[in-house]
Amino acid sequence: MNKKTKIKLSLSDRIFNAVNIFIMLVIMAVMLAPIIHVVCVSFSLGSEIQKGGLFLWPHGFTLEGYKKVLQDHMIVRSYINTVIYAFSHTALVIILTALTAYPLTIKDFPLRKGITIFITITMFFSGGAIPTYLLMKELHLINNPLVMVVPFVVTAYNLILFRTFFEGIDPCMRESARIDGAGEFRILIQIIMPLSKAIIAAVSLFTIVGKWNDWYSALIYLNSEAYYPVQMILRKILFNSTVFAQMDPSVMQMFRNSTITPANIQMATIVVIMLPIMCIYPFIQKYFAAGVMVGGVKG
């Protein structure tokens, strides 16, 4: 706020500002409340949760829910699966996208136009859910953990993002490297990639989050629980009320005598799953500009 506007702030302006700030505060509260609620329930004593009326403030304090979650083999294994899927998929995405995008930035490259059209078509047309499913079947990717890593590593959006970024790099860098005798692979790895850290980080972070949150491909392609990503296990814990009944009778006995309820475990699992995303979040924010660019590309 500079001085000029301070002097001439009419009454209606001030009312507008007050109302506007109030609306923003309400929106922030609505955005945060459910997340805070989850954290609170995860820490609350089971007896208090069953009484109900719990909202935004933990009643009592217990870490039993988290203890149970971190001791559960199913949850831990699926968590490790998700980490493996997210990182290997992202590594493939970055490598293949960079390799495909780089030639498109060279004006003289004969296949430039052809490849661009080839890629753009996939933005508008796709085979749809069932033919894709049948393809996975042909490739023996059903109930194969590779199905979480390999498919759709190269997408039109990422490719356009990379190409646009590469085009912004001074072509002289490439030329001088070439005169020094570097081949195209070396130019890409030693000159272009180090200069493209921003776009690599942006695409990596979005890809990791996307894979982290992916549950649908696991639902249709994976049958064995051993391969499940953590979101599938979470789905089971949250939506299948019989999960707890199926548990070991000793576990049920434990619920009866202990300070926690299934709600503790459900909410603690949610927190454990959301935590890495919340940690990445401040870093992703830096790259929202890239996200907007994706939007711009779409448009």
Binding site: G127, I130, L134, V153, R235, Q266
Partner: protein, 312 residues
């Protein structure tokens, strides 16, 4: 090779010569192109099974008998056809009606905030839900809307009876759209905020000097700046009317809410993936994508006529 090219050649050499010259680049792009070909183009070829009797032993590429439009006819004779189309369209239209304007209004209001720090905080917090997975979102919705959940707690506080939101078809669309807005409000606003940040502050000052009040400045300075973006987004969204996020519906619906919740996407999942009727559901999928393509083209055409903004 570099030595031979000391002088820039003014004339472009022939296609094949350049291919030889840039063979390392071709080699470089090959893995990515193969990946695109396999995972994007082969399924397009797979659409053909909509016109065939799929034989699991032969597979997608094998010899399958051609049956013409048999499966399309089967879909048109489906007793649930009307309900499926109605649910799909209504869910899409209501989503467009509510979820589309919300980020625009939010962006316009956020743009009016004078304190940069406060604005940044509002932005950061509003993006947050976008990064939460659908499973967690739906889990939260179910928890909040359950009979002993928070929302019914508030209702009871005001002396109202508890409602079973999750099993009453009446509430399905409201729940779906409200949670969509909760998740997408901040993220959706980014595009509009970017457009608004391009507005010259002098325009606002000039308007203020000319005696424009806040509302008039939003209407005549801010709004025109985001009209092109809004139009483009509207065209894109209109193509999605019949392809609402069915994975979220899958998590959110149950048999008691099929009456309003069962859409084409979920039906295809049940009949195709669970039921194994691959040809039938491929035919439905093809019809859906054709329809959404027509919608997109129509919206683009109309927008070109009316506002001169268009995708192509």
């Amino acid at each position: 090779m570099a030595r031979q090219n000391k002088k820039p050649v003014p004339k472009q050499r022939s296609f094949w010569k350049r291919c030889v010259k840039y063979r390392s680049l071709i080699l470089m792009s090959l893995p990515g192109l193969i990946a695109v070909f396999i995972f994007s183009y082969i399924p397009m070829y797979g659409i053909l099974i909509a016109f065939q009797d799929y034989n699991p032993v032969e597979g997608m590429f094998g010899h399958n008998n051609w049956v013409g439009f048999k499966y399309f006819k089967q879909f048109l004779q489906n007793p649930y056809l009307f309900r499926l189309i109605r649910n799909t369209l209504l869910l899409g239209i209501y989503t467009l009606l509510w979820s589309f304007p919300a980020p625009i209004i939010f962006a316009l209001l956020m743009d009016q905030l004078t304190n940069a720090k406060f604005k940044k905080t509002v932005q950061s917090i509003s993006y947050l839900p976008y990064f939460i997975s659908t499973v967690v979102i739906v889990g939260l919705v179910k928890d909040f809307c359950s009979v002993d959940g928070v929302i019914n707690g508030i209702r009871e506080f005001f002396g109202l009876n508890a409602v079973s939101f999750m099993t009453d078809p009446k509430y399905f669309r409201t729940i779906f759209i409200a949670s969509n807005i909760w998740q997408g409000l901040g993220w959706g606003a980014i595009v509009y905020l970017a457009a608004l940040s391009g507005v010259d502050p002098q325009l606002h000052e000039a308007a203020t000097l000319d005696g424009a009040n806040r509302w008039q400045r939003i209407r005549y300075v801010s709004w025109p700046a985001i009209v092109p973006t809004t139009t483009i987004m509207l065209i894109l969204e209109s193509g999605k009317i019949i392809s609402s996020d069915f994975t979220k519906v899958l998590l959110l619906y149950n048999e008691s809410t099929y009456e309003t919740a069962d859409i084409i996407g979920t039906y295809v999942y049940r009949e195709g993936i669970l039921g194994g009727k691959f040809e039938y559901t491929t035919a439905i999928g093809l019809l859906t994508s054709l329809f959404s393509f027509i919608l997109l083209i129509t919206a683009n055409f109309l927008s070109k006529k009316i506002s001169d903004n268009s995708l192509w």
